[in-house]
């Protein structure tokens, strides 16, 4: 029995990487939380995540907080007329029945004032605050500087 428990524990800890963890908050499913390694702590880090609203009420991501950065903010990369800008987003809509991705080239969390460089393989917590669903803390896996996203079996 002990051996069985041990082997189950090992299997659970070995197979999915942290970024493939799924969190649930009410009607919301939150997964694929990841970040990129940074060179030192002077440049901002980034935070990406995928949110699915399985409910029938619209929600919105209105803030992020993390001990890893002094000033985490929501931003959106907008490419218009061949020019990329990165305006600050007050909130990111998560409409009922829809899937919203904070992903490269789109919405993202900008982690300004890093307390330490983000190192590949490490993880840090980020608290997400939603207008209706409230707050949840997710673990964010730091992938390589060159990563384009986590490699999860269920990833789109």
């Amino acid at each position: 029995m002990k051996a069985l428990i041990l082997s189950v524990l090992l299997a659970v800890s070995a197979v999915p990487t942290l970024a493939c963890e799924t969190f649930t908050l009410g009607d919301l499913t939150i997964e694929h939380a990841w970040s990129r390694a940074t060179i030192g702590a002077d440049r901002p880090g980034v935070f990406y995540v995928e949110i699915t609203n399985n409910g029938s009420t619209d929600d919105a991501l209105i803030g992020i907080a993390t001990p890893a950065a002094g000033m985490p903010m929501l931003h959106q990369t907008v490419v218009m007329d061949g020019v990329a800008t990165m305006p600050h987003s007050m909130s990111i809509p998560v409409p009922a029945g829809q899937n919203v991705q904070l992903a490269p080239g789109s919405y993202h969390g900008m982690l300004t004032g890093l307390t330490a460089a983000l190192k590949e393989g490490n993880s840090f917590p980020v608290a997400l605050t939603f207008q209706n669903a409230g707050e949840i803390v997710v673990n964010v896996e730091v992938l390589s500087l060159r990563a384009e996203g986590p490699d999860c079996e269920d990833a789109n």
């Binding site: 990129r36 901002p44 990165m86």
Partner: protein, 196 residues
């Protein structure tokens, strides 16, 4: 019948006029789209070691040129990662392609460290950061746009807007084409391989 013909003519005239107006007033900041008109962009900018690198010294090689800034958390790492993938995908042909990162935030990027940034993506990428005036001249030469935006929510209180495309310069120095932001590395690689 005559009335409707007249109407069509008037509409045609109006459309032509508005098209002409749109062309004439096309914002100059808009980077040029792929076009048949070749031009030869020029630069003379300091590299991370302080030496001046000129466009002419890269003749004979294709150049993949990207304008960005090292404080950029989203667009720049994504594109430089693609450049790194392209360079790895080229294998032995990689020596015929020179990737170049031109800073649109040169003063800060020199301070933060240009070489450690470009090296983290791929050691073949040359990072260049000139003076403000030199950077503006290079942007004009490449027909690209950049601007400083004050933003209290980002480090240093400002961010940079910039053209996020990758520009392909030919061995003769001619501007060949741009790869718009988000073009998959495989597509860029295939384009380069077809030219090598």
């Amino acid at each position: 019948m005559r009335f409707s013909t007249l109407r069509i003519l008037l509409w045609a005239a109006a459309l032509t006029a508005s098209a002409a107006f749109a062309v004439a007033n096309w914002p100059s900041r808009t980077p040029s789209q792929p076009t048949e008109m070749a031009f030869v962009p020029k630069f003379a900018l300091a590299d991370a070691a302080g030496g001046t690198r000129k466009s002419e010294e890269f003749r004979g090689k294709f150049q993949l040129v990207f304008f960005g800034f090292t404080n950029c958390p989203d667009v720049c790492p994504t594109t430089l990662s693609e450049v790194a993938q392209v360079m790895e995908g080229l294998g032995s042909d990689a020596e015929s392609v020179q990737p170049i990162f031109i800073s649109v935030d040169p003063e800060r990027d020199r301070r933060l460290g240009l070489a450690e940034y470009t090296n983290a993506f791929h050691p073949s990428i040359i990072g260049l950061a000139g003076s403000e005036a030199e950077t503006e001249a290079v942007a004009r030469s490449f027909k690209v746009y950049f601007m400083r935006n004050d933003d209290k929510t980002v480090p240093g209180g400002y961010s940079m807007s910039h053209s996020p495309a990758l520009y392909l310069i030919g061995p003769d120095g001619d501007w060949l084409r741009q790869f718009s932001y988000g073009t998959p590395a495989a597509e860029i690689l295939a384009d380069l391989q077809s030219r090598l």
